[in-house]
Structures are given as C-alpha cells and as structure tokens.
C-alpha cells in the first residue's frame, strides 16, 4: 500500500496542483458491459461541475469510482488521494451523497448524528442541529418514518456540517418535489459553498442546475462526449430561431442540431475556435432571432453528433 501511495503522489505531482479530480483512461466493466470506457477528467478546485447524461450513461459508475465505491482501472487522483487504495482518508476531505434513500432506515436521526460526530473529525454537530431546527424533522424518530424530502434534508444537514474540500452528489434530488429540490440547491449554494470547495453533481435534469454550474461534462455510453466551462459554452454555441425563408441559408452554415418549434425551426451552431468571443454574429442575426442555447439543447445536439 505504501508503494501505491508513493505512485499516487508521483502521478499527482505531474498534474496541475489546482486539479481537484484528475482521471486518465478510467474504465469499469460489469461482465461484458463497459460502464466506463476510457474516461479522462480534469476538474479544477473550486468548480461546480455538472456531469450530465441520460440514464445508463455511466454517471453513477463514474462518481462511485471517484470515491472508491467501485473498483476501476486507469489513473485516478481525487484531491491528492487514489480512492481505490485510500478511500477512508479521502472521505475525511470529501463527501458523497449517493441517493436520498441511502440513510440507514433502522437508526434514529439523533443516533445518526451521534455516529457521524464520533467518526468524522470535521463534523460540526451544532451546525447540523441548527440546520435541522429549521425543518420539521423529529430527531427521536427513525429514518424510515421520514418522508423522502425529510431524508434529503437530514442527509443535507449531515453533509453541510462537514468541512470538506470536495462534495460529490449523485442525482441528489431524484424523486423529490420541486420545493425540496429548490431548497436543496439554495442551501448548497448559500450555506455550504464558499468558493473553495469543489462540487460535482450528476443529473439528467439539466435545467435545474444550469444556473449553478461553472463546468460541464456530458457523458454517454461510458464515454465523455463533451466538456467545457460554462462561460466558454456561451461563447461557443449560438441558437437561432430561423424564419421559414431562411432555412436553406441556415442549413448551409452546417448546424450541429435542428428542431422544429411552433414559430419555425431552431438551429444550433458551434462556432470555430477563431470565431468565439468575437461578438460578431451578424451572419446568424440575418437568419432570425439569436439566443444563447440551454445546456439541454447543447447536450441533445452533442449526444446526437456522438451517435453519428
């Protein structure tokens, strides 16, 4: 194990020190099914990174690999640790929320708090209790008696009271109603994130987290399809609602995606490297109404392109 840790340190030294997560050729197979097929990642510290993909894309497998919950092949460094050999020490500085339903059902809430307080040196019990005081959770009740939303609140209280460098969330709001979902992300930004932590969120409900993200990764069939910073996304893609008479002209500009709408057709264009950020989009404005595309539109376009 010592030699592996030395190896891990050597790898880490060659990568940018400002990378929170660095992976090269990360692979994971379940029998003949390749859940991860040569993933490369480079997520900087302080980023809020969205891992977007459809069901079965490999999001959960990728995130579990990052925290050592499933074995994987390839090179991997997560805040200076190789999670496959040093999961326990990694989890001192990282938190993982797999799903709202993973809290142990037979324990009382207060017992769960006591457990985390005992085993985690960076847990602030008073902070967790302050957060829980704003909810309707009766701490003497068992987790199995709580509603799904309350379980989320409890899990969030535990996570936010731990002073960590990295937070990994795997579809944290799955199955929750809109009020709990909004509350979840509000709390995450206002009470947890201070700019120094790194957050990685996986979801297939892109529109919900679009406004939070600083970085974006699209994943499909175990491969990274596309990755960028959010600022670069806005400079790199243009969406045009084209009037009917301009369809031919729009087609000639090689859109990466088109879809029909009530008012006409929407075209999505990816700008060449030299064109980005220049601000001159007159050739698009001649075709119709120009806007910044949503992440969902870019995702659908890129996914379609990757499937050929």
């Amino acid at each position: 194990m010592e030699n592996t840790q030395q190896e891990s340190a050597k790898l880490d030294a060659k990568w940018r020190p400002e990378s929170a997560i660095k992976a090269r050729n990360l692979c994971k197979s379940y029998g003949s099914f390749r859940a991860l097929d040569g993933i490369d990642l480079d997520i900087p510290r302080g980023a809020i990174c969205g891992l977007i993909g459809p069901n079965g894309a490999g999001k959960t497998t990728a995130l579990k690999s990052l925290v050592g919950l499933c074995d994987s092949d390839g090179e991997l460094s997560v805040i200076g640790h190789d999670p496959r050999v040093a999961r326990a020490s990694l989890m001192n500085d990282a938190c993982f929320v797999a799903d709202v339903g993973v809290l142990p059902k037979s324990l009382r809430c207060i017992d769960l708090l006591a457990y985390v307080d005992d085993v985690h040196s960076k847990f602030n019990r008073a902070k967790a209790l302050r957060f829980l005081a704003t909810t309707d959770i009766d701490l003497k009740k068992r987790v199995k008696t709580l509603s799904k939303g309350m379980v989320t609140q409890l899990h969030l209280a535990l996570v936010m009271a731990i002073d960590v460098e990295l937070l990994i969330l795997d579809e944290p709001t799955l199955g929750l109603d809109i009020i709990y979902r909004q509350e979840f992300y509000d709390c995450l930004l206002t009470q947890f994130y201070d700019g120094s932590q790194t957050i990685v969120i996986s979801t297939h409900q892109v529109e919900e987290i679009e406004s939070l993200l600083s970085h974006l990764i699209f994943i499909s069939h175990g491969k990274i399809v596309f990755s960028t910073e959010m600022e670069a996304l806005q400079q790199r893609f243009v969406e045009v609602t084209v009037d009917a008479e301009n369809y031919a002209a729009a087609d000639a500009l090689n859109p990466i995606y088109t879809r029909a709408t009530l008012g006409g057709k929407e075209y999505l264009f990816e700008l060449e490297a030299g064109e980005r950020g220049l601000g001159d989009r007159s050739r698009f404005e001649r075709l119709g109404r120009v806007s910044t595309p949503s992440v969902a539109d870019v995702f659908v376009a890129k996914l379609g392109a990757s499937h050929g």
Binding site: N3, T4, E7, K10, L11, R24
Partner: protein, 75 residues
C-alpha cells in the same frame, strides 16, 4: 494527452497481478479465500495427524453425580 511514464516496483507489479487474478471480481476472491483456508486445514491435519474427537462428556473437574436420593425425595 501526454502519457505519464511510471516506474513500476515489484510490490506494484504483484498488486497488479493480484488485481487481475484473485481480486478480479468478488467470485474469484471468494473462491480463492475458501480454497486457501481449506488447503491450510488439509495440510495442517496431515502434519499434526489431527484426530476428530467426537463429543465426549468426560468431566475432569467434578463428578456429575450430585444427590443420588434427589429423585426419590421429589416423588
């Protein structure tokens, strides 16, 4: 992306071999563990000429006869 050249030491090579064989998946690990334990039991049994003593009720510490007349006094 540049390939990162790494020195590989003997323990690392051994770990890699183990990961590809015994630690490949939970089934290989399970069978390897059981096979190892059974081999150790078999070899130890041969070396020490282990005999299977059946359940014996000899008692080196005291006599099981307590009060011979207790049965008649309770009738």
């Amino acid at each position: 992306m540049e390939r990162i050249e790494r020195e590989t030491s003997q323990p690392i090579k051994l770990q890699r071999v183990l990961r590809r064989t015994l630690l490949r998946n939970k089934h290989s690990l399970f069978f390897a563990t059981i096979a190892l334990v059974l081999c150790v039991i078999a070899v130890e049994g041969k070396l020490t000429d282990r005999q299977g003593r059946g359940a014996q009720f000899e008692n080196p510490f005291f006599d099981l006869e307590i009060a011979p007349d207790i049965g008649s006094s309770l009738r």
